[in-house]
Structure formats: C-alpha cells, structure tokens
Symmetry: C2
Subunit: 318 residues, 2 copies
C-alpha cells in the first residue's frame, strides 16, 4: 500500500450520532484511501484494568463514537459508496461485557459482567479464557454513511445506510456497498471488534480500539436499497475450518427461535465445557454464528447456532 | 462399510404423517446401521419429463413421504437418538418448483414454475441452468422421530422432534441428535435434497429420490430439548470456498428482513446474471444462505443472504 496516498482522519474527529449536517473531518476524491483512528465502543470508559463496576457506570450518551465523517467528492443521493476494507492494525486487548437491559437475553441476564481479553498478534488469537482462544478477526461493528433524513439519528440502531451493522464478515479484503443518502456520502466508522459471532447475541463483541485503512469510491453502475457486500474467494472458508456443534430451535418466530438456540448453546457450553451461564452467554456472542436453516415449512422455522469447537483446547463431544 | 450389518427399510414402508402409534417397518439394536430408500418430496408426482402443469396438479395429501419408522430398541422418552449420516447414493436428476401459496415470497410469486436439473456424479455438481452449476451436497430435508403427543401430526412443519428441518448441513459425516419422544424413537427420513441454501426460500430445494445409509444409537449421557448436530472438522470450510456477494436487510423484524434480503438477491441475480425473477427466486432457494448478522442493536436487526459466486461460470461484479 502506498502510504503517501492515504488521507488521515484526525483522532479527535468523531461523533455520537448520524447527522447529514455534520461538518466533514476530511474531504477525499473518489478512489482515495483513508486511515481512521477508531475509539472503542465504550469511548475509553472501559480500560484494560477495568472491573465490572465500570460496566455499571457506563454513560450511554458517550458510546459507539464513530470516526469521521469523510466527504467523498461527487457522491450524490442514489449513488453507491464502495468501501474496500484494506487493513486493521491489531489492538493489544479488548473487552466483552454483559450490560444490563441490553442483548438478546437481557431479561435472563440482569447482572453486569466483564471480560478483558488479550490479543496475541503472533498467533492471531484472542485469549478469551484459560483454554479458550478465539481467532482474531477484526472488523468494524459500525460502518455507514449519513442518512437522507435530516436531524440527529441515534448511533446504536443500524439503518439501510449501514451504521451499527455488527456484521462480522466485513474484514480486510471485503468490499461493502452502501446507498448514499446525502451529498458527499459523509462516511463514518467505529465500534471495531477483534472477534464476534453472527448475531452478537449478548450485545457486545471483543470490543477494541483499532486503526483502520480503507478505500472509498463512488459507483453509479448499479443501485441498492440496503447494504450489500462482496467477500473474496476463500474468506469464508478460512473462518470455518473448525468442527462445529450446532444447537437448533424450531418454532413459529425467528426471534424466539434465535433466543431458544442461544439458550440451548449456553446449556451445551455449561455441560460440555463447564462454563458458567454468563461466560457462556458472552462466549456465544463473540464466537457462535446464527443461521436461518429454513423459514418456509409453516408454521415452524429452524434457526441454528454454530459453536466452533476449535476455540477450545480440547474439543469434541465425549 | 460392512454391508452385512446394514438393515434395510422396505421401499414400500413410508408414511405421510408423524404418529407415535405407527407400526414399525424395522426394529434395530442401538448402534446398528440402516438403509432407507427415500422417495422424492412429490412422491413421484413430478418426474424427469414433467412440465409446469404437474406443479399445478400436485396432490398435497401425498407429499413428503418419510421412509420408516424404525424402532430402536431401548430408546425411551427423554433419551437422545444420535443419527450418524453415513452415505447418500447419488440420484440422476432432481426438481425445483415454485408452488403457488408456498414459500417465503408466496404473495409475490403466484405462478407455478418448474426446473429439472441433472446431477453429474463425476464432477459432483447439479446442472441448474446453462452456466449455473451447484455443488452436489445431498442431505435429508426431513429427518426425525415420532412426537410424544399422540395422534397424527402433519408432515410439513418441523417440530422439536425434528421432521422437515430442511437443514442443509446434515450431510454425510454429520451426526444429528434428536430428543426421543416415544418408545423406540420411531425414526423416519424423507425429502432428500441434492442442493439447498440455508433458508430454502422458495420452499423447494433440488428435490431428488435417494438411498440413504445411517447409524442409529441411543444416548443417555446428555439431554436436549430440540435437535442439535455435530459437524466434522472441515465440513463447513469445504462448502464455502467460493467468493460471495451478500445482500443485507436492516429492520425491526427478522422475517421481514429475510424477505427483504431475498428480494435484493433476486434483483442482484437479475441485474448481474440476467436471470428472470422466478429463476432467481428458485436459485436463491437452492444456493443462497441466510445468516443473522445481529439481533441486538434495537430496534433494527441485520440479515445477510450469501450468494456463492462459484456457481456461475463467469463470476464477480464487473
């Protein structure tokens, strides 16, 4: 990568809302590369020495800061912004929390919980617990452009303009396509994750500050209504070498099915690996993938939760 | 595999309902292997020379026949039946239909549609169309045990005892765990598929009659409330070597999200590969995987539909 061509977003340029009237932190031409210094989702309220009391004290008016916005010259509403993800500079550590009143099973997990994990760059792993190492697979939890509707939009829900998509597949090598909602697109990125499962069920991943390099290009040769992305050959294969244990749920509501599959996974992780319920719930969030197996055999749909057994030093059902 | 030890279910032993009072077609000891001759989901109403008129004429009181039931000695309610999937004998052809009033987008696809695909055993592919070959990945769409509740239960909806799970990952090498609901488990299997995506969105896969060999064992060392399964190392990797284009949907309802992601996929397949809407919908059913990316960033969840580009002779976005 030619370092000279990379434009930097100042570290102090970040926001806690989406708003198409924000003043750009940087202007670039279509096709130029940008580097962003991304703060963690707690905005430094949780640090390497934190205990669970820092989860209790979290100020939610200062979470999920997004670096930017970047104005891309020539981008107009109706265009597509192509975001090529080029590089993530590894962090040294990350955090995972169960935050009261947040997450898929919030009603069943009322107590705060916190885990600090170390990132080992050499082995490309995240040390989640004794005997449990996750593959280090960095991506931005939040990546998007300003919405077309004026005013401030909250940072936590994603929208058709992207935002807090928490989509684990947006790794280096992937290209994300976003519908442009406002002049210049006003691209921002935050909430970088060192590891996460499809679903992010407890509401947090392995949250970690990171520097990110990407390329922004305006496309007019196709239209989209919501985010789409391209994954290079082998990207998915590389993630999925492991053996798996899969807990399914069968029922008439996909959300309840997801909840049931996660409950079964928590039970499985407890029985098979001796994890307590909170640790099992958090591990499900950072390592287990939710898939929709079928949603046509009315009235019951099937959801599967994929536990990769390679994260355990000794795997396999006895 | 030692042919002598395989017990055969008679080809004429099949049923159109789940019922724990059905007379077993076969009794086996725990740990024994069984071979089943599985009829296609249309029960031979659709044949290799069929046209769309055979879809219109389908008699739904004779669909999804399941071979069995097999009584496994010693299996009692509360036990787990482990089903090791050992072998699928390849069919020569299969069918995929859009059936009126059936499928995820039934309201948008009112007309019947039919595609006969040839299976090429040598290349392990299913020839879906000129220029579109799917990997041949056989599995049983319907696999289960008799429910604990007495009486006849319809064959199309799955339940916590398995049934019409349409779970594409249940291939040779996988082990499915089913909660036993009735004395002897009364295992049955049907609806064999030569290829399918996670979701089976149009309601049919590449439907094909097949012979299936598996091993049935009673387990009492753990309990489950719904089906779980184990996948051997590399099984998922092998499926996912391709590059992918992913259409996402962002919104407050997972089912509507899945519908939106499928709609975007149909549009993408039309624009990128020139498929008409019906063919694109059917191809999405047999080749595209639905994943839940996040369901915690209230009020909006993200669903992704994964299009494997390796199925097209010329792939990649221009």
């Amino acid at each position: 990568m030619d370092a000279v061509s990379i434009h930097e977003v100042r570290p102090d340029a970040f926001n806690y809302v989406w708003d198409n009237s924000l003043v750009p932190a940087l202007e670039v031409e279509s096709g130029e590369a940008v580097e962003l210094h991304v703060r963690d989702a707690s905005d430094e309220q949780i640090h390497r020495g934190s205990g669970v009391e820092d989860v209790t004290k979290l100020d939610f008016s200062h979470v999920n800061p997004v670096s930017g916005p970047v104005f891309v010259k020539g981008a107009r509403p109706g265009d597509v912004l192509a975001v090529e993800l080029l590089e993530f500079r590894p962090p040294e550590w990350g955090w995972t929390a169960i935050i009261p009143d947040f997450g898929l099973l919030a009603d069943e997990f009322p107590e705060p919980w916190l885990r600090i994990s170390e990132v080992d760059v050499e082995t490309a792993t995240v040390r989640f617990a004794n005997g449990i190492s996750l593959p280090y697979r960095p991506f931005p939890g939040t990546i998007g452009v300003a919405p077309s509707e004026p005013g401030e939009h909250p940072i936590l829900p994603p929208s058709r303009f992207g935002g807090n998509m928490d989509t684990k597949h947006l790794r280096a090598g992937a290209t994300l396509f976003l519908p442009v909602g406002a002049e210049g697109a006003l691209f921002s990125l935050g909430d970088t994750h060192a590891a996460q499962g499809d679903g992010e069920v407890c509401g947090t991943a392995v949250e970690a500050a990171m520097d990110v390099v990407l390329r922004l290009s305006v496309r007019r040769d196709f239209e989209i209504q919501a985010p789409e992305y391209d994954l290079p050959r082998g990207a998915l294969r590389q993630s999925e070498e492991s053996s798996y244990h899969v807990c399914t749920a069968v029922g008439p509501d996909l959300m309840e099915g997801a909840r049931d599959a996660v409950r079964a996974t928590i039970t499985h992780l407890g029985e098979r690996y001796g994890l307590d319920r909170q640790e099992a719930y958090a591990l499900t969030s950072v390592a287990v993938d939710l898939r929709i197996h079928e949603l046509v055999d009315a009235p019951n749909w099937v959801v599967g939760a994929f536990v990769p057994e390679s994260i355990f030093e000794e795997g396999g059902r006895g």
